[in-house]
């Protein structure tokens, strides 16, 4: 909308207020007014004029403050609608020509549809959801037609003598009007509950005036239903409603103020951008960037997704892949930077969707910091990739060890076993044929073959211990300690649930290497393997009472174990001094 068009609308709106005031004053001061029971008291004059006028004035302020936002125009529309309705209420239309009266009756209930549109479009000014758009469009047709039907055909007015809406559900038109009200209220309530904090923050100033208005509507409906159900009129409730109807316009006055306040609260104001810039100048760590933006945009649900060009996907601050949602009625997405090579994407409450300029201003302020953060995220993503690749390598190596062990078992070991049994049969036959010389010769070969088979078995076990796969980590460790020449105590447990195979393998080889080292170098007399599970970690500690002197930097064994434990996300520590022996502590995350 151009500036000139806005000026025309603003001038027109003011003109309508002036016309309404003039008409009202003239009508009230006419001798023999058409509604004599209302009297000509001035507070009633104000009560008729003020709600519509305040909507128009608040709308004018809103449209000049936020010229791109349609909320101002919608408020003006509601105000004009209320003033028109007032004319209908005073039955001045009776003095008009019939076509003019029909047009006025057609237009007058539109304020209610405009009001619903305002509620559903607030604070952005546009209807984002398809459902909202469809409902509002259909109401623009159904509600005026129902009003015409009520007045022209069924002679059921929609407004009471005090200006309060009348939901006479005994009439078809009233029923349509009532159904529209229920659907509209449902949509507004849903919008409140599914909206994020940003939306609620901007809608909250509407709550106070809306509460008595809603109570009034509910009681009106209750009164009508009460009359329908019981023959005795609910006199007390009706009297209460009439008194509430007297002050009803005052609540309508509070509404436009609420809209105006909510609109001003909805977006990012320049002071919050200023605060953001001040924070940035003081140096803002990447992890503080998202909270700072969320604070500046008054949207705690705001998320930043960083674009990783090498991977061609978005990631969070930790470098983990995330998929920003497609913009919908609840969440909006703004991609920052060149679309072919974006820097980041902001995902925020759709209440801010029409504050594009302000979101852009905040984004521009943090652009450099976002670039820096993205580099960090990229680095983290690469590190994560390296970590995963290392874990995959270790896993592949474990699988390969397992395969080699199986091949040895199924191949060479089986053949040697067959050969051994064959020689046992030969020996038995030689014995049966009383040929002890042959039997002795075969027996010597059997002994050699048995040694070879034993060595092959040890080799296979070193490559991958079958017991680890068959029975789990604890039995595998116990089996290791049973073969150890130094006495080893095994204390503690790792629970009933087995660890993942890569974790079991990593911890097993730590114990195996630690026992081998202790036997070779520690000169200790006793060892202890301690097992435990706490705070989501599986912990294995191997200690000896030997001479100490072990260091991570010395020898490739401990270094290799450190890498292996790190590959599964754990850590390995070595404590070794000459007085207290050596303790190797390994812990891995086990969920």
């Amino acid at each position: 909308m151009t500036k000139a068009q806005r000026r025309v609308i603003q001038a027109g709106a003011l003109g309508i207020i002036a016309l309404a005031c003039f008409s009202e004053v003239k009508f009230r001061t006419l001798p023999g007014a058409i509604v004599p029971e209302l009297s000509r008291e001035w507070y009633l004059v104000l009560a008729d004029l003020v709600p519509g006028s305040s909507f128009v004035l608040a709308g004018l302020i809103a449209s000049s403050l936020r010229p791109r936002n349609r909320v101002g125009l919608l408020m003006i529309g509601v105000g004009v609608g209320l003033l028109t309705r007032n004319a209908v209420l005073q039955q001045r239309v009776g003095q008009m020509s019939v076509p003019a009266e029909v047009v006025l009756h057609f237009v007058s209930p539109l304020w209610a549809v405009l009001f619903l549109q305002l509620l559903l479009a607030f604070p952005g000014g546009q209807l984002v959801s398809r459902v909202d758009r469809a409902v509002v469009r259909s109401f623009y047709v159904v509600v005026p037609l129902a009003a015409i039907l009520a007045v022209v055909v069924a002679s059921y007015p929609l407004l009471g003598p005090m200006g309060q809406p009348v939901f006479d559900i005994k009439s078809p038109a009233g029923l349509i009007y009532f159904v529209c009200l229920v659907i509209g209220s449902g949509l507004v309530i849903r919008r409140w509950f599914v909206g994020g904090r940003a939306r609620r923050r901007s809608m909250s100033p509407l709550l106070w005036p809306m509460v008595p208005i809603t109570i009034f509507f509910v009681l009106s409906v209750a009164a009508v239903l009460g009359v329908l159900i019981t023959p005795v009129p609910l006199v007390g409730l009706k009297n209460f409603l009439y008194s509430l109807a007297t002050v009803f316009p005052l609540f309508l006055v509070a509404l436009p103020v609420g809209f105006l306040v909510g609109l001003l609260r909805s977006g990012l104001d320049m002071s919050s951008v200023g605060d953001l810039v001040v924070k940035l100048s003081g140096g803002l760590a990447p992890e503080r960037l998202q909270p700072a933006l969320a604070e500046a945009l008054h949207d705690p649900s705001l998320e930043v997704a960083y674009w990783l060009p090498a991977q061609e996907w978005f990631a969070d601050l930790e470098g983990r892949r995330i998929e920003p949602p497609a913009g919908d009625s609840e969440r909006a997405v703004s991609v920052l930077g060149d679309p072919s090579s974006p820097v980041a994407a902001l995902v925020y409450d759709s209440a801010l969707v029409h504050e594009g300029q302000l979101v852009d201003a905040a984004a521009a302020a943090v652009r450099l910091a976002l670039e820096n953060a993205r580099l960090q995220v990229q680095l983290r993503a690469q590190l994560e990739e390296v970590r995963q690749s290392r874990a995959r390598l270790v896993e592949a190596a474990d699988s390969e060890r397992q395969r080699v062990e199986r091949d040895l078992h199924d191949g060479a070991q089986q053949q040697l076993v067959t050969l051994l049994l064959s020689m046992q049969v030969t020996k038995a036959e030689a014995m049966r044929h009383s040929d002890p010389e042959t039997a002795m010769l075969v027996d010597a070969n059997i002994a050699t073959l048995r040694d070879a088979l034993g060595e092959l078995r040890e080799l296979a076990r070193g490559i991958h211990p079958t017991i680890l796969t068959q029975a789990g980590l604890v039995p595998a460790i116990r089996s290791l300690t049973e073969r150890c020449p130094i006495p080893v105590d095994v204390i503690g447990e790792l629970g009933d649930v087995r660890l993942a195979p890569p974790l079991e393998a990593a911890l097993y080889f730590v114990v195996s290497e630690a026992i081998t080292n202790a036997v070779k170098h520690s000169k200790g007399r006793r060892m202890c393997v301690s097992l435990g599970r706490r705070s989501g970690l599986a912990i294995v500690e191997v200690s000896d009472d030997g001479v100490g002197g072990a260091e991570l930097s010395l020898g490739s064994g401990l270094r290799g174990l450190t890498d292996r434990i790190a590959a599964v996300g754990g850590r390995l520590m070595v404590k070794s001094d000459h007085a207290g022996g050596t303790t190797i502590h390994a812990e891995v995350p086990c969920g």
């Binding site: 089986q414 040697l416 076993v417 051994l420 078995r457 076990r461 116990r478």
Partner: protein, 118 residues
Amino acid sequence: MPERVLIVDDHVGFRRLAGRLLKEIGREVVGEAGTGEEALSESRRLKPDLVLLDIQLPDLDGFVVASTLSSEPQAPAVLLVSSRDARDYGPRLYGCGALGFMTKGDLSAESLEALLGP
């Protein structure tokens, strides 16, 4: 004293040679099986006194077969064998209902006779 033996192993060569050794010590080999399922059905059909059972079979685990057999009425004695040794199986060897375990490398007429009786 077990007289009638069922040999279960997926290697034909092992079955043949183990059969020869058992015959040397006067046992009757009543049947052979190459899989765990076959072992169960042959054992139920032939009702042997002893099943010489390899742990690693192509379908069922030898421990599972031993456990199933030992829970049946007129259960045969089960001697588990493997080319791996007892340390490779740990606690799984106990509580599966088997009479004992022997590595295949230790199988001989003497060792079988010592275990099963003359």
